[in-house]
Amino acid sequence: MFVCDCGSNIAGYLDVKALALYAETLPNVVYVKENLYTCSESGINEIKAAIGEQNLNRVVVASCTPRTHEPLFRATCAEAGLNPYLFEMVNIRDQCSWVHMQEREDGTAKAKDLIRMGVAKAALLEPQEPIQSEMDAKAMVLGGGISGMTAALALANRGYQVFLLEKTPRLGGLLLRLSRLGPSNADASELAAKYAERVQKHPLIQVMTSTVAEEVKGYIGHFQVTAVRNGNREEFGVGVIIVAIGAEVLQPHGLFQYDGKSVINQLELEERLKSEDFSAGSVVMIQCAGARNEDRKYCSRICCMVAIKNAIALKERNPDVGVRVLYRDIQAYGTENEAMFQRAKELGVLFLKYDPAMPPRVEPGKVVVFHETLGRDLTLPAELVVLSTPLIAGPDNETVSKLLRVSLDENKFFLEGHVKLKPLDFATDGVYLCGNAHYPATVREAVSQALGAASRASIPLSKKVMTVEPIVSTLVDEDACRGCGLCVALCPYGALEVVRTEKGRKVRVIPVACKGCGVCAATCYRHALSVNSYSDQQIGEQIRAFLGE
């Protein structure tokens, strides 16, 4: 048992001497040492020496957080010849001295409780061996739009084989239907064609168009994919998967007199611009058509820029065309987008704010809108009305989400592992996301995310063998398991499966995919599953120690 002062971090607020004396009175404790810094070189050497001299078979350190220091102490045990999983850590800094700075006595009493519990658990710890698994250094990218193609190229250029699956017969995604891109003014189809050619010529990318993934089994390093191409099944294995299946543009049926002729959406306007099939002398665009309302609360991020871009295109073709944009907030965030917004205003595009409580009324040849600043209705000529509709989650999202066991948000877009710190990873290891599948994005953002997803995917790909912590779920009582699958449904990481065995249906743990969260063990009413180092017995003993039984 080693009790750490952490300089004054712990010793300044708790009676560490008393803690050390207390630890000596606990059952099974044969050696106690107080250190100024247990993690310092001298502290580490003391642990090593004590393991040898005292013939210790368990080590407990009462100090700071296992998040930063458990690996160090485990490695120390291993160096001294003790299995590193026979080590237990008690956090008397974060949980005692830091949160009870003003309560020395109570804080010290709490630290005693935690130490007693840690010692009780340590007695029941069992040795564990790290889990190793080979990496199948290939990738599958779902979706052949700009995001998917970019991600595939980035991985292939690093030397990894990539299967690029596209549902439709053609690579290019949404770009194929757009006219020009803002603010680069690049021709969308040309860009798509350039990327498609690069992807198709790359010796390491296997392009599979008209193909969908039908079944995906396995886990990071070992995914077994069954794909269906033109009715034929193909099987292949990959180590990682990138989801880049894009999104769809909302068709505004029933909104603002939409008819697909004189009231259209931005995508249809782009198609008309592309085919030079445009003649209207006055255009009114209506923002947030079908977005930021009760049914669809979210802002689709890019529609303001789409409207601005197309308004500029109309003005550049013919400065006499009247273009008016009715908006709620212009979302031209950042440098480029705001510059585009200002350029549109310079070209004479009129931006008028409307109140969603008094939405614009589309009538034949005109749009009537209440102008907030003038305080009255304005009638705007409109040979063409263009509705800026949001991107919505694609129809395959639910299927793909189930296939890969990854989450969707309330709007059915794919949900990343952490909104701030893991924007391109799923909670499930080995699966990554980018582009519109994640949330509406500009081409700049989609390309950036695709490169990023490839970067994240290349981390496991670059390892031949993955070593994983053995603190995972284990089927400890196979006879008790009835193969009910409750744990399989609840596992957030896809780390469990039900398999047929000689004894019938039984659950099987995939240790590489397991994070040791314990949901399965807590759920299993037959107590068939248990998490290593956190068994019912070990936790029970800790609780009994706390209660002083």
Binding site: G7, S184, K194, Y195, Y298, Q331, T335, E338, Q342, S448
Partner: protein, 430 residues
């Protein structure tokens, strides 16, 4: 591309980072107080310090310019005496390190616009007008007010009271010494000096000191009463686009400030549910996943009022409360309203060193002064092999910066880790 030689100056920290355990005894004992930039200048730190508690590596540094020994040439060395690890090294010098690298990633970030340049907002004049970053520190549990919304005017008052208390103590000691020496009370002396019966120098000086003491005591009492009467800030105004979307300063939108104002208003309300906020904006740009929903929740649960209008001027009433003057475009009126505190959502601007770095690396900056990138090659600078991510290329929020960091790593990896021959091609995707 593929072979850069970079000369790097590693500045002396005057602490051996291999020996320092980060225990903090040195900073505890260091006698020199320095304005704490991490707390936006609102608090003090020592001359030996860690920029912020969770800083990595967890190692202390001496601010050489402020240190008594290094900066002022005085005898001190207290930190070295108390350091058990013997990590303090006053002899440390800057070191030059040469690196040979295949690719470079610029992730040098941004700076916050200085609102002193907008005189009508009174940032320099009005104590209770603060920047969003200062407000962030006031809201922080590890900040100078431990998360309570004490107004800067009250913080200044507190500092005044501290100074006055020192004065009163000092004057009191002087007066007491005179009283003890002569066995007379100050009141007697004062009365007799006033009536003209005592005219010697010592008595005059004594009377003057006694008067000063009385004044200081009265002043202290007044300020203490004022302090006791002062509450924390309850009514907040957030002013958007301070230095952004303003042709006088920066034309661009700073992207993230709408959301940090909503966030700060919500946290302030969570801390004290009597707090209500008004956000003055042109457009409220809530464009990420869950942002619009968050904004609406702020309105419903935290009582945030979103006011469409550009603030024209901020003045101050006699009690130190800022008054916000604005044109409401929805009610078509020029209005004014008094608040306890005003928070300026200041622009994200290129850091001062960007231009110099651009010259050093031979890359271009754009019309706004950020590193220039291409909309279709978002991580590439104008020079092959040099990449840029995060706010160094323009304002963006945390998730976008984090995603870009991975993207920049992928771009750099294609240069340094691609099979031969493909690296050059990799750069020119589009």
């Amino acid at each position: 591309m593929g072979a850069f030689r970079v000369k790097v100056r590693r500045k002396a920290r005057y602490v051996n980072e291999n020996l320092c355990t980060g225990c903090g005894s040195c900073a505890e004992k260091c006698p020199t107080l320095v304005v704490d930039l991490y707390n936006a200048g609102l608090g003090k730190r020592k001359a030996i310090y860690k920029y912020f508690p969770q800083g990595i590596p967890s190692v202390f540094t001496i601010d050489a310019g402020k240190c008594r020994q290094l900066g002022e040439g005085k005898k001190c060395g207290v930190c070295a005496k108390v350091c058990q690890a013997k990590a303090v090294d006053f002899e440390q010098k800057d070191r030059m390190v040469e690196l040979e690298v295949g690719a470079v990633i610029l992730a040098t970030g941004y700076e916050v616009f200085d609102p002193s340049g907008i005189p009508e907002y009174g940032y320099d004049r009005i104590a209770n007008v603060v920047t969003a970053l200062e407000f962030e520190r006031l809201l922080s549990a590890s900040g100078p007010t431990a998360g309570h919304l004490d107004r800067p005017s009250e913080l200044a008052l507190e500092a005044d009271i501290e100074e006055l208390e020192k004065d009163v103590k000092k004057l009191g000691r002087q007066v007491k010494a005179l009283e003890d020496k002569h066995g007379k009370s100050s009141t007697q002396i004062l009365d007799r000096v006033k009536s003209g019966t005592l005219t010697d120098q010592e008595s005059l000086a004594w009377a003057a000191t006694a008067e000063k003491l009385a004044e200081a005591e009265a002043d202290l009492e007044k300020k203490k009463q004022k302090k006791a009467a002062a509450g924390t800030a309850k009514k907040l105004a957030f002013i958007q686009c301070v230095g952004s979307r303003d042709f006088r300063y920066n034309r661009f939108c700073s992207s993230y400030c709408c959301m940090h104002s909503v966030k700060e208003a919500m946290i302030a309300h969570e801390h004290d549910n009597e707090v209500s906020s008004s956000i003055f904006c042109m457009d409220l740009r809530a464009v990420g996943r869950g942002f619009e929903e968050y904004k609406l929740r702020g309105g419903k649960q935290a009582g945030i009022r979103y006011v469409r209008g550009r603030v024209a001027e901020i003045t101050e009433d006699s009690a130190g409360n800022p008054i916000v003057w604005y044109e409401s475009t929805t009610s078509r009126q020029v209005l004014h309203e008094t608040f306890d505190m005003v928070i300026l959502a200041t622009a994200c601007v290129p850091s001062a060193s960007t231009a110099e770095l651009a010259r050093l690396f031979g890359v271009e900056v754009d019309e706004n002064g950020f590193f220039r990138t291409d909309p279709l090659l978002p991580l590439n600078t104008t020079r092959p092999g040099i990449f840029v991510c995060g706010c160094a290329q323009g304002p963006m929020d945390i998730p976008e910066s984090v995603a870009q960091a991975s993207s920049a790593a992928a771009s750099a990896a294609e240069v340094v880790a691609s099979p031969p021959g493909e690296a050059a091609q990799a750069y020119r995707y589009a």
